[in-house]
Amino acid sequence: MIVSGTKELGAPREVVWSVINEPSEMAKLMPGVESFEITDEKHWTAKVKVPLGLGGLKMTMNFEKLEEREPEFALMRAKGQGVGALMDMTTSFTLSEAGGGTSMAWEADVKIAGPVGAMGQRVLQPIVNQQVSQVLEALEDRVAAASTE
């Protein structure tokens, strides 16, 4: 499942870059993060709870930064494992200056295997949309806060 979009942020590109390329900052944006551990500058692990089914789907996500061209492009991969689900997500974003702010074009290729994946796009798409929406809203707030710090 490929999801993509563009988000306009009211902060300079360097500020946005600093937020979304700092793992600990990014962790604050992700919904359902229960714990977060940085292995090195290119690898980190998060335990998350995805709002799926009763009690949520708990997954351990391993992130790896694959490529970055500061301050405009980054590519990362996240592999997660939980009960009945394996997730493999490759995501990238491109930042460009837009007036005084930043335009962020993003894309994510999400693959979910196992019984949860078998539920198909009909069930998963709304959840992915909800998660993306929450991340973007949190990002907007965090970038606004960072630009005033």
Partner: protein, 819 residues
């Protein structure tokens, strides 16, 4: 419900055969007093849960069971590596390359379909076992996935390195002279591709077993619901490096099989290993999602490059086709599906020239197993699609072209081009009956009325055969090295000390009513009431008489199963008469068995012995009998039908012996806005020869019809490109509810089989007729909306909607070359 019977049932002397007596099984089943394997408990038994692959295709990097073993209440685990050490791969039936495939009970080193078991855990409760399974960590490396049979043919990705190819089996079947038949035809209709989709059955009871290991004797007892234990043991014993008699299969009531419960040997081997390893009974009950995902599916098949010769008057001269069969990740029961279809090579039609170029491949999908109408359903769907597409393209009436090309009643018994004999039947009369039931004469009026409501209405016909009594010799047409030929079945009948008639069956009933029909046959032969006949429930391979391939499959109970019952009952009957003659001092020919007595015909009423007396004499009071007279009143009989040998060069022979027939007709309405299909009228006529119990026959027609309607409109195992099954539950895999069922009108005719012991033919697998007729009806309904050709066996709303939007896309698959 309407039932029409054209001929009275042919009955035995006393007449319980042919009556719809209530099923003996139903009292306990309806009252919830049936006993299924899952009802059986043992002291200290553990519950097993399988860890299954989430990937369609991946290398297993590592399996870590340590966290699961730390959990309190977990008894133990097993992985593929252990299985590879303690067992051998299962026997493969194919020649190379498929014959080189190595298939173990658990995945070894690689997973090849979503849901494939990679490990198992045993714990004190079912829930705990499931929790523990979630603690088993499996690391995978994904591999490229094959979900398309045509792609599999390219061998760019190979599932089984030992085979070196995805092709399991391939071969050409060529009967008559199809090239000449096509050359001489006035028209040649070409169909580029047709697709028979992947679906299966959904028995009420999922698979499972309780397995106990006896350390002292090395014997395993499997209390289970395997429907063909003879074959199960043949697969399992060599893999477990033990003897067949070390595996005791015990069944009680079984909640449906339909073929799903034939290929359970991988899971059962794991249970055997676990019970031995842990020193305790282990029990596994399959979860429904697992049943959908990885129990077994029906064969998916593509029909490519079909060419059909047709004369001006509608006579069909022959056809040729390339069949591409997708058997999923492992050819468990395969490649038998590459030949089983040939039992019905020309369908119900008089085609003499047929060429089928057949190839079967592996893909990253669930393995297949026999499924109601196994392999024949796909081929019969092809023949029915051919008929309707030819009629559509050349302007023939679908009814008349069928009647013109059907095998005619006066041609019976009819030898097909490949040496099978259709034993009896009158297909044209049956078609007339079904058309009457559905009031086909009013169809144009109904079409107009539906059109006034903005709906498209169509009538479709589906003709189908149910070939019964499987000749295992047909396997040698695939692999001449196999030492299989013919078939047989056993039963035993005895009169016990209190005069009760006791019957044990070699078959393994799963709801077909064997206890009832066997009792009817025995009651007629022995002259008593079916109530006096106790047909033991279930099957125990240690105590029930059975043969090598005993089981309930291939529509053969009516022939071999009841044939064995009849033979054993007749042996007991003859001894009862001799015994009564000796006691009553009368010649044997003067003795009759009637109403539970042996008596002198036309003799005084007191000159009669109740069965109880006969049983007591033999079992408890036999000292007065002469020394050279030693009846036992206890007999086993093996019914071995005569098939003769198949010709492996010409690929001909009697692949089966009886041919029951069903013709279905459906009227559908389509909403052109949504593509939604409603079945608004439905009728089916069945001819299975002598009906032992008409109500049971009708029930099987109903069940088969429901199964077919589900398959034709909803039930579809859909995989995405990653090999993830998208329809793994009842939400997405919609089986018909009661509210989905149209009113059914059923009719029956009886053309007794001249070759079967009771004139009865195996039946119950005629469900394909429903798929055929619904496809036919949809195509008929779509005629005024662009004339789309129905090319898929499953037509849910989105597919019908697509055909409405772009009928030309389907029509591009069909062309006609005329002289």
């Amino acid at each position: 419900m309407t039932t029409t019977v054209t001929e009275p049932a042919k009955t035995l002397e006393k007449g319980f055969v042919g009556q719809s007596i209530p099923r003996k099984e139903d009292k306990r089943l309806v009252q919830g007093q049936g006993t299924f394997f899952d009802d059986v408990r043992r002291h200290g038994m553990g519950y097993v849960h399988f860890v299954r692959s989430p990937y369609g295709h991946a290398k297993i990097v590592s399996i870590d069971v340590s966290k699961a073993l730390e959990l309190d209440g977990v008894y133990g685990t097993i992985t593929g590596d252990e299985v590879a050490i303690h067992t051998d791969p299962f026997f493969e039936m194919s020649v190379e390359p498929g014959g080189n495939i190595k298939d173990y009970a658990l995945a070894v080193g690689r997973v090849r379909h979503m849901g494939e078991p990679v490990a198992a855990v045993c714990a004190a409760t079912r829930e705990l076992a499931r929790d523990a399974a979630e603690l088993i960590e499996v690391e995978y490396d994904e591999l490229p996935v094959l979900v398309d049979a045509s792609e599999a043919l390219k061998d760019e990705v190979v599932l089984h390195d030992d085979a070196g190819s995805n092709v399991v089996w391939s071969g050409v079947f060529d009967w008559g002279d199809v090239d000449s038949a096509l050359a001489e035809a006035d028209h040649v209709v070409k169909i580029d591709k047709l697709h028979f989709h992947r679906f299966s059955s959904t028995p009420l009871e999922c698979a499972g077993a309780l397995v106990e290991y006896d350390k002292g004797t090395g014997e395993w007892t499997l209390t289970c619901n395997h429907q063909m234990p003879g074959v199960g043991a043949i697969w399992m014993a060599p893999a477990l490096r033990t003897g067949i008699d070390k595996l005791r299969f015990v069944t009680h009531d079984i909640g449906g099989g339909f073929g799903n419960k034939i290929c359970l040997h991988p899971q059962y081997v794991v249970l055997c290993l676990l019970s031995r390893k842990l020193g305790r009974p282990v029990q596994w009950t399959e979860w429904r999602t697992d049943q959908h995902t990885a129990n077994a599916h029906g064969n998916e098949r593509w029909f490519l490059d079909v060419e059909v010769g047709v004369m001006k008057d509608g006579t069909m001269t022959g056809f040729k086709v390339k069949a591409l069969d997708d058997c999923g990740a492992f050819p468990r029961y395969e490649p038998l599906g590459c030949i089983i279809w040939a039992q019905v090579t020309p369908g119900m039609y008089g085609w003499r020239n047929i060429r089928v170029d057949f190839t079967q491949v592996c893909t990253n999908k669930s393995p297949v197993s026999p499924n109601r109408g196994y392999s024949r359903m796909q081929h019969l769907w092809l023949t029915e699609r051919i008929i309707d597409i030819v009629a559509h393209e050349l302007g023939f009436d679908p009814v008349e072209i069928r009647k013109k090309n059907y095998v005619q009643a006066d041609q019976m018994p009819y030898e097909t081009p490949n040496g099978c004999f259709y034993d009896s039947g009158d297909y044209s009369t049956a078609l007339d009956m079904v058309l009457d039931l559905i009031d086909a004469g009013s169809i144009e009026k109904r079409r107009e009325e539906a059109a006034s409501r903005g709906r498209l209405l169509g009538l479709g016909i589906g003709s189908t055969l149910d070939s019964g009594t499987n000749n295992f010799g047909q396997s040698t047409l695939l692999n001449p090295e196999l030492q299989f030929s013919g078939n047989n079945e056993a039963a035993s009948v005895k009169l016990d000390i209190f005069g009760e008639v006791v019957v044990t069956l070699g078959t393994v009933p799963q709801g077909q009513g064997h206890e009832t029909t066997a009792a009817q046959v025995v009651a007629d032969i022995l002259g008593c009431s079916p109530d006096q006949v106790n047909v033991r429930r279930g099957h125990d391979t240690w105590f029930n008489s059975h043969a090598g391939f005993s089981g309930t499959y291939a529509s053969q109970f009516a022939f071999t199963g009841l044939g064995a019952v009849k033979g054993a009952a007749e042996l007991v009957r003859d001894e009862m008469i001799q015994l009564a003659a000796a006691v009553l001092q009368a010649p044997p020919e003067a003795i009759e068995l009637s109403e539970g007595f042996a008596r002198i015909k036309d003799g005084p009423p007191e000159a009669a012995l109740p069965f109880m007396a006969l049983g007591a004499i033999i079992n408890a009071n036999n000292a007065f009998l002469p020394p050279d007279f030693n009846p036992t009143l206890n007999h086993r009989y093996v019914c071995r039908p005569y098939f003769g040998m198949v010709d492996t060069e010409k690929k001909t022979g009697q692949l089966t012996l009886t041919y029951a027939m069903q013709i279905h007709a459906a009227v559908v309405e389509i909403d052109p806005e949504t593509g939604e299909v409603d079945v608004v009228d439905y009728a089916a006529v069945d001819d299975c020869g002598v009906r032992i119990n008409p109500q049971i026959v009708e029930g099987q027609v109903h069940g088969a019809t429901a199964h077919a309607i589900g398959a034709a409109l909803h039930e579809d195992f859909v995989y995405d490109d990653e090999g993830t099954l998208l329809t793994a539950n009842f939400y997405d895999y919609h089986v018909p509810h009661a509210m989905d069922m149209p009113p059914l009108k059923t009719g029956a005719m009886e053309s007794p089989s001249p070759v079967a012991p009771l004139g009865a033919k195996g039946m119950g697998e005629g469900g394909g007729g429903g798929i055929h007729c619904i496809c036919s009806a949809i195509q008929d309904a779509l005629k005024p909306a662009g004339g789309a050709i129905v090319y898929d066996s499953c037509n849910p709303a989105h597919r019908v909607w697509s055909m409405l939007q772009d009928p030309e896309a389907t029509r591009a698959n069909v062309s006609v070359a005329s002289k």
